[in-house]
Each structure stands twice: as C-alpha cells, then as structure tokens.
C-alpha cells in the first residue's frame, strides 16, 4: 500500500476528504470548520466539497451534536466537531442520553452512527477550561465508543473506521500531536478496526500501556529504560478505550509480569483505574508488583507553563514508575 509522510493534521484531513469523496452521506459540522476560518484538519475541505457538506455552525455544542444525531437517524453519516474537549460538557447530554442509548432504547429501530471529533488542548498554557482530557467520562456510557489515536497512521485509519462505524464514536485528537509526522497509507480503503491495540515496541521486563499523546512519552521512557537501565519495556498503544483490547494488554503483561498504565487524563478515577482493575483481576498471582499508574495530577490545569509542566506524565515519571515495579519484585525475591 502506497504511503506518504505527513502530519497528524494532514492525515486526519485526508481521512475526512476521502470519506466525503467515497460516501455522499458523510458531512461535517462544527464551529469554524469551513474556510477561510478553518485552521485544523478541516482546513480546505469546504472549498473542495462546498458548505453544504462542510458546515459552519453557531457556537451551539448541544445543537451541533443533537443535529448530528438527527441527521444520523435520518440516514446520514455526520462528523461533528467539538472544537476543544472542555466544551463537550455542553454537548454531553446529546451524546450520553441520545446518541449512546438510542439503539438500545428503541431495540435497534433508530441508531446514531455519529462521529464526534474533539481536541485536547492540554500543554498550551490555556488554563483549566481549555486543557482537559475527559475520555473517561464517555468510557462510562454503554453505547459509546472512544478512540484516541497517537500517530498519523492511526489517526487516518481509526477516523475512517469511526466515520463508517454503526455506533456513535468519540474521536479524541490532541493539539500537541497535530504537527507530528509519520508515514500514512494514502489508499482510501485503509482503515484500522476499532478495538485492536498496537504493540509499539516489544519488550520482556515491563509493559507500558498507554494511548494518545502519552504513547510518545512511554516510547521515550522505554528507550531510556533500555539504554540507561538495561530494562526491556514493551509499549502497548490501546488506540481505542471502548472497545478495549483486553487480550493484547493481558497477554503482554502475562509475559512481562509488570505494568505501568500511562495517560494524560487525571490519574484519579481515570481510564487507568479500569485497566489496572482488569489486569489485576486477570493476572493476580502472576504479577511481580502492583500495576503502576502515571496520569495527570488531580488539580485543575494551571495556566502558568511552569506549573502546567508539572501535572502531565513525563518520560522520567514513567521510567520511575517502571523502576518501582522492578524494585518491588526484587524486594519480594530478596526481602
């Protein structure tokens, strides 16, 4: 399959363009998504596909997602954009009480195969209401799928799957990844099935389980662990939180017997809590150490860059957590 080097932004844009090309039912709606105001992955699309299919909306998040749901019930495949993830609270009722539940409540008579793209702004010193990583909220809602890509390749493949998926999908982008480059298959048929984790790096001593932006921190930590400490870390990128590829993560940790779960979401009651619970229930007796978690500190995101830098996971923090799992197992053997 032919591949091209491109940024995450370009990869997402390509996925949207190809979906618009291949299926008349697809249309995009959101705030500032049409030219000339658009700056993100939708830039250029309204010029190519027209404003009927790339529709600028009022600042009305509940209206955007609600309209997407109605259009989906009516047979279209809408891709709604919530500009910054912190705004999703305004649209949450539509996602939680309509999109996620329609199929069940109507025994399949109506469904809402919408995609809601949104973006985490954390790391830009934009303060507490423009920084949050909130995917855990939606993992908790039966009927919703939750997708968080880490690379341009995954961005394109997963967004394509989300748009054509029969269930409502929350697709979480990260501003700090939009400029990141990688090799991407350009074939419109390229799609990555939802619910398949990706082993980004093979290892034998500890498994670093992550998704989204912090996968890159986990990879950096794995390199440090190898070069400076002689520790072989495996890195598992979950790619989707619902469905969750339990098999891949459990089989990895079954081999390494140690795990660290890493995410940019607040650690307390974050997605890692569920992942750890599953690992410990499935692997009790096989683990060498309690599973570690690395996540954002339980404070509102501070605006000052010096403070903000303190709250998110870092490669150094992941290395330290991995070392704690190794120390615990050594202590068990020798202590």
């Amino acid at each position: 399959m032919h591949e091209q080097e491109m940024t995450m932004r370009e990869a997402l844009s390509l996925a949207l363009a190809q979906a618009l090309d291949t299926d008349d039912r697809v249309f995009l709606l959101g705030e500032d998504i049409a030219d000339p105001g658009a700056a993100g992955p939708t830039a250029g699309l309204s010029t190519r596909y027209g404003r009927e299919r790339v529709l600028d909306t009022p600042i009305s998040e509940a209206g955007i997602v609600g309209a997407a749901i109605g259009a989906a019930i009516g047979g279209l495949l809408p891709v709604a954009e919530i500009m910054i993830m912190d705004f999703i609270g305004i649209a949450a009722d539509q996602m939680i009480n309509n999109a996620a539940k329609l199929r069940f409540m109507t025994a399949g008579r109506t469904t809402a195969p919408i995609t809601v793209r949104t973006q985490v702004y954390g790391g830009l010193a934009t303060g507490a209401t423009h920084s949050q990583t909130l995917e855990a909220w939606f993992m908790h809602i039966p009927g919703m799928k939750v997708i968080v890509p880490s690379t341009p390749r995954d961005g394109k493949g997963l967004l394509t799957s989300a748009i054509f998926d029969e269930d409502p999908c929350l697709f979480v982008e990260t501003i700090r990844l939009q400029g990141k480059k990688g090799s991407v298959p350009v074939d419109p048929g390229f799609a990555i099935p939802l619910g398949q984790a990706d082993v980004k790096r093979a290892g034998t001593d500890v498994t670093l389980i992550s998704y989204g932006r912090s996968v890159h921190d986990a990879l950096a930590a794995a390199a440090t662990l190898q070069h400076q400490h002689g520790v072989s870390a495996e890195v598992v990128d979950l790619r989707t939180l619902v469905p969750l590829d339990v098999q891949t993560m459990v089989s990895s940790v079954r081999r390494t017997r140690r795990a660290v779960v890493v995410h940019d979401a607040v650690r307390f009651a974050g997605p890692g809590a569920e992942i750890v619970a599953i690992l410990q229930a499935q692997l009790f007796g096989e683990l060498e150490a309690p599973v570690e978690r690395v996540g954002a500190r339980f404070v509102p995101a501070p605006a000052a860059a010096a403070l903000e830098a303190q709250i998110y996971p870092s490669p150094a923090g992941i290395v330290a957590a991995a070392q704690r799992t190794l120390d615990r197992s050594r202590a068990r053997v020798h202590g």
Partner: protein, 326 residues
C-alpha cells in the same frame, strides 16, 4: 379555513382514541390492575389529533415523555405504545425503552425524549437529512412550554431559522412546566413571542380547538415545504392529570382546574360536530365505543405478552456486542 366533514370526523376519532387510551391507563394504574410509569396527556388531545390529520405519513415527529397522544396521532399502534409502557415484548422497543423513549420510524416517530428540550436539536438534524436527500418532508418537534427555557431549544431554534429548515416547533403550552406555572419561569406572556428572537414566524392558537391547530399547522407545513423555514406554533391547552400519573396537583388553583375541565376539548369538539350537522350523536357514540374496544383489545394483547428475555440486555447496546471481562 373550514375542514371537510370527513377530516373533522377523523380528528374526533383520534381525540377519542387518545382520551380512551389515557382513561384506561388511569383506571388500570389507579386500581393496581397493572403497573407502568406514565405522564398523562389527557386534556391535550386537540393538538395531537390536529397534527395527526395535518401531517403526511412521511412527515416526521420528535416528541416527549408526555407523548401518548402524539404517538397515537402519528399512527403508532396502541399495542406498541402500551407494550413499551408496560415493559413487554410487543412494545415498540421490546420494553427496553419505556414510556419516555418510544420510536417508530415507519410511522415517522423518530424520537421520544425524557430530557426536556433535548429533542429540538435532533429535529434540526432530521430536517437537515430530509433536505440533503431532496425530500419535502417536514419535521415536527413537539415540546412543552418548559422546554423553551432550555439551552437546547434555543440552540435548535436558532439553527433551524438560520438555515431555513423544514421544522415546526409545536409547543403544547399546558401552562405548567412540571409543577411550576409558566408565569414563574418566563417573563413573556406568550411563548410564541420567542420566535421573533430567532427570526422565525410564531403563532399562538387555542390548543383546545383542533381546527385552529390544523389551520396553523397547514400554514406552517406549506412554509416549511416551500423552503421558507421553521414556524413556532404555540397551542394553549391544559393538562388534566398533572405532571405524572398520581400527581395530586397541590400547585394548581382549584378554580383554574375546574375551568380547564369545563373546557375539555373532547366534548367541546363533539358538540361542534353535532351542532354543525357533521355527525349525529349516535354516530359519535359508536366512535367512542369503538375506541374503547380498540384500547381494551390492545391492553389485553399487551398484558398477555411476555416480559423481554434476559438476552435483551446484551442486544442493541452496540451494533456488534462488546464484552468486557467481569
């Protein structure tokens, strides 16, 4: 505009069926014959019956938890409504959705919502889909006065007007938002005055007069089908049984309730049909008897139907089931 006799008789038949369906629930729940949660529509029949004759079969409806009359007006079978209310396999959603969440796309009922105001944006999207498909169908969003105080309604009304979408906001103003009088929840005396703020046409009619409602709906439907955008139709009416079944209505002044009951739209329209020579008392007695029979037949079908099987829990959560380790 005068409606043909046949249309007026259809309106009355619908009103009587809505009333009979409500009355039978009231008796059954009240005596403990069966259990279900219910937000009664008794008193609001004229609006839904008018909608029933004004809309085409392919026009779409978004309604609310107080939707019994609307669902009947749009042609959903009583068995599917009662079945859903009582959690039986014959319900529109096999008993999984309940009273507040009935959908029957084949009849044009696309959504019933239990979240006040949440249906309005969905109605906007349905209208967008209709336009994109080149269809001239109209989407009616049936809602209460209380719903117009929500942000969802405001966002949807603005979008519908902005894009000239084929939507009708059919406001059934029953003078109470749950237990609070409308006058305590909005500065405006007439809910329809809100429409001007969106650049939308707004009309206010007697919601107990089905012919007035039909006239307003016909004009709104023509406007929408022409591509000239949405209309807000306020129908002033009253709820005879309060917010939920069993509501003792301590918040409703006695004289207000008595006056509302005296203006009951069902006997009022019956009297009109007889006075205008459009039907005889004997004919209308038969219509009422038939409605009661239909309701009883549906009820017995529902009562003898089973409860949904446990397997239903794992169906329809996702298109393809997702399982997690327990």
């Amino acid at each position: 505009m005068t409606q043909p006799a046949e249309v007026q008789r259809r309106i009355y038949a619908l009103m009587v069926l809505m009333k009979a369906a409500d009355d039978r629930l009231s008796t059954g729940i009240g005596t403990g014959e069966f259990l279900c949660v219910y937000w009664p529509s008794r008193g609001q029949e004229a609006i839904a019956a008018a909608m029933g004759v004004a809309l085409r079969a392919d026009d779409q409806l978004v309604t609310t938890y107080r939707g019994l009359h609307d669902l009947i007006g749009k042609g959903v079978a009583l068995e599917e409504i009662y079945g859903e209310m009582m959690g039986r396999t014959v319900g529109a959603g096999r008993g999984k959705g309940g009273t507040m969440h009935i959908a029957k796309p084949e009849a044009g009922v696309m959504l019933s919502t239990g979240i006040v105001g949440a249906g309005a944006p969905v109605g906007v999207g349905l209208a967008m889909a209709a336009r994109r498909k080149g269809l001239d169908r109209v989407t009616v969003v049936s809602l209460g006065d209380g719903a117009t105080n929500t942000g969802s309604f405001h966002e949807a009304a603005n979008m519908a007007a902005l894009w000239d979408l084929p939507v009708i906001f059919l406001c059934q103003n029953n003078l109470y938002a749950e237990m609070t009088p409308t006058a305590d929840t909005m500065k405006l005396e007439h809910v329809a005055d809100r429409a001007a703020g969106y650049g939308m046409a707004g009309v206010r009619v007697d919601g107990n007069d089905p012919l007035a409602v039909v006239t307003a709906l016909d004009e709104a439907l023509d406007t929408a089908r022409r591509g000239d955008g949405p209309t807000f139709v306020e129908c002033v009416t009253f709820r005879f049984r309060g917010h939920y079944f069993g509501d003792r209505m301590p918040y409703i002044p006695k004289d207000q309730l008595e006056a509302a009951l005296a203006a009951d739209p069902v006997p009022r329209f019956r009297a009109h049909l007889v006075d205008a020579g459009l039907a005889t008392d004997q004919e209308l007695d038969r219509v009422e008897a038939r409605a009661a029979e239909r309701v009883e037949t549906a009820l017995q079908t529902v009562i003898s139907a089973g409860a949904p099987s446990i397997e239903e829990l794992d169906r329809d959560v996702y298109a393809t089931p997702i399982t997690f380790p327990v």
